[in-house]
């Protein structure tokens, strides 16, 4: 056996093992779900949603792919290989809104439908962007989460990130706007924990001391909600004060179990992958066009409407409580 054949053998076996996956029916629509990096629970869940949409649509093949680490260069290599394969659509959660844009523009020039979801691409680099939610929807949700468990009304307080956090400030402003819709709910204070665990914990303690009748702490930040839950548990006020807001299921499972948190919200990655696939399919099939004001159907999620920048919001943040926390706590 010659030396070259030995070497051939190694690579040929590796390639042959992988060859099987290349076979597919030619008439299937191929939609590539490109994520920031493989092996992240949030994106694995999104891929699950994409497969669900594919099964519902029929004749759709999902290519779930992404780089090993969260770099723009890695995503560009992935995009190049997808362009080479001539996929029908690319739905990407970008590592960098600008760096991947030239590669995606090239994809569009070659007739590929390109949308971004979760983490967007600049306007030149995609046809539309799907946000998991929107400021008004989040603002409404965080108040509703508290109000749902306060049938007689009462005092609530907000524990935010830093006073200059753009996202949180916008959400709180939106929440204050819809407050009159919830009868009997009184917002007594907004404090800032700067997204530091210890500072958030002390601010939560301060709220409990200043407002003995407080019924709920709303923390629209993953650090704040966890610290508040801890503070309420440590003060022995579980059942008196409900901690809610935006949190990660993996971190919040303990709080839901102990009862300090009745329910909380965050976007649902399964729904996000599902909706992105539905939109990519509609645009690639030509049943919808990406233009300001267009309404694109998204299967069981209803539909989305594009704004002036061709961006759209999927839905209210998804609510997690004792009934579904076990299913999601391992995902993200």
């Amino acid at each position: 056996m010659s030396i070259t054949r030995r070497l051939f053998g190694g690579t040929a076996i590796a390639a042959a093992m992988l060859a099987g996956s290349a076979v597919h029916a030619q008439d299937d629509m191929r939609i590539a779900l490109v994520v920031k990096a493989l092996g992240i629970g949030f994106f694995e869940a999104a891929a699950e949603g994409a497969e669900e949409a594919a099964a519902e649509l029929g004749n759709v093949e999902i290519i779930y792919t992404g780089p090993t680490d969260t770099t723009a260069e890695g995503q560009i290599e992935v995009i190049n290989s997808l362009i080479a394969q001539g996929v029908d659509a690319i739905a990407i959660s970008a590592n960098d809104p600008d760096a991947v844009s030239p590669a995606l523009q090239r994809a569009m020039q070659r007739g590929i439908t390109v949308i971004s979801w979760d983490s967007g691409v600049n306007e030149e680099g995609r046809m539309m962007h799907l946000n998991p939610s929107s400021t008004p929807l989040i603002g409404n949700t965080i108040i509703k989460l508290a109000a749902d468990h306060m049938p007689d009304g009462g005092q609530v307080a907000i524990l935010s990130a830093s006073a200059t956090a753009t996202n949180q400030n916008a959400w709180i402003a939106a929440a204050e706007e819809v407050l009159p819709n919830y009868e009997g709910i009184e917002l007594v204070a907004t404090v800032y924990g700067d997204d530091l665990s210890d500072k958030s914990y002390r601010e939560a303690q301060g709220l409990m001391a200043s407002y003995p009748d407080l019924k709920a702490i709303i923390a629209p930040t993953t650090v704040g909600i966890l610290a508040s839950c801890q503070a309420v548990s440590d003060a022995g006020k579980i059942g008196e004060i409900n901690v809610t807001g935006l949190g990660l299921p993996s971190e919040m499972a303990g709080c839901v179990e102990s009862g300090a948190t009745e329910s909380f919200a965050i976007w649902n990655p399964i729904d996000l992958g599902y909706s992105a696939t539905m939109i990519a399919h509609a645009l690639a099939a030509g049943t919808a066009t990406a233009e300001p004001g267009a309404e694109i159907p998204t299967g069981r999620m209803g539909s989305v409407t594009l704004d002036d920048t061709n961006a759209a919001a999927m839905s209210d943040p998804f609510t997690y409580d004792a009934s579904n926390i076990d299913q999601f706590k391992d995902i993200f």
Binding site: L7, T11, A84, Q85, D96, D98
Partner: protein, 327 residues
């Protein structure tokens, strides 16, 4: 009675035989093999545009790999190359914000590369510090400066004619980057294999003290090699920044190891003293073909890393095992 007389050749292997048994021939066979396997496993592989896209996976890294090859042959190493890209790109991005045009940006990119290379070279040759320690330090230093300047921000707004370096095509599917890669390969081939300077590089790698006593100015040669590595990083920074049309401090993260892998796969001894430019050129193609071929099959990146690792070990180990069996 058995014949115990040993066969003693009256001459060394013929030039043709030597060439056939050389590392480059072996690598070339691997490259051709991968090319054939790729053609069979993916229906999209044999397409001029796709093959052209593939070259972007390795051209920038290969430009640096040539300079790195010389450095490693001379017994030194530069692990700060990817960080030089980050710093050069950041400097160009900052210049864009104050309205510098494309020619100025190119000069800044090359200049920052040279300065970083000179800094490494100074620490190694004048201060007498080991290059692996120095460049691990400057690896953090150069990228650290980029992080301080940019934080989680990005520079964008590069002039439209700047995009030619990373996105332009010279002729049909032949990209500017690929032409640049070919020219640089040729230049390094001449430098290493056809000049006195190239002979000095080999001499230093084999025996630095002996080279010194033979009248080779070892420190100066090494300093020039660090300058060249810096300059190549500057050129790669221009191409990559142009291709991405933006700068973030994480640009080219982790490239130094891929570049060293390319050099070692190309047959350059990591201990110094031997290696060739054609070997590095073929190694660049091998790595490009493997990652692109597996990419076409949508193989996850982590599996690609495993394949590259196995390829590296396999290509290096098999000839030695073969020698052993034959003996």
């Amino acid at each position: 009675m058995t014949n115990t007389a040993r066969f003693i050749p009256d001459r060394l292997e013929s030039p043709l035989e030597r060439r056939l048994k050389s590392w480059e021939t072996l690598l070339l066979a691997v490259a051709v093999g991968i090319f054939i396997v790729n053609s069979f496993t993916s229906p999209y592989f044999l397409n001029a545009w796709n093959l052209s896209d593939m070259t972007f996976n390795f051209t920038e890294k290969a430009m640096i790999a040539f300079a790195m090859a010389l450095l490693i042959i001379a017994g030194e190493i530069d692990l700060s190359v990817a960080s030089i890209i980050a710093l050069a790109s950041t400097a160009m991005g900052a210049a864009v914000q104050v309205g510098v045009g494309t020619p100025g940006l190119v000069l800044i990119g090359l200049g920052v590369g040279l300065i970083c290379g000179a800094f490494n070279g100074f620490l190694v040759t004048k201060m007498g510090l080991p290059s692996i320690v120095v460049t691990i330090g400057t690896m953090s230093l150069f990228r650290g400066i980029s992080y301080i300047v940019l934080g989680d921000q990005a520079y964008r707004g590069y002039p439209s004619d700047f995009s030619f370096f990373g996105q332009g095509y010279v002729f049909w599917v032949i990209s500017f980057e690929f032409v640049l890669f070919a020219i640089i390969a040729l230049l390094y081939f001449v430098i290493l294999h056809k000049t006195n300077f190239g002979r000095a590089v080999y001499a230093i790698g084999n025996n630095a003290i002996g080279a010194e006593f033979s009248g080779i100015r070892v420190a100066r040669v090494k300093f020039i090699l660090f300058l060249l590595t810096g300059l190549m990083s500057g050129i790669a920074a221009i191409c990559l920044t142009s291709r991405l049309a933006s700068t973030r401090p994480s640009i080219a993260f982790g490239w130094e190891l891929e570049i060293v892998t390319m050099v070692v796969l190309g047959g350059v001894s990591i201990l110094g003293g031997s290696g060739s430019i054609p070997g590095v050129v073929i190694a660049a193609f091998v790595m490009g073909l493997v990652t692109f071929g597996l990419g076409l099959l949508n193989v996850p990146g982590i599996v690609m890393s495993i394949v590259i690792g196995l390829l590296l070990i396999g290509v290096i180990a098999l000839p030695r095992l073969w020698e052993k069996w034959r003996a």
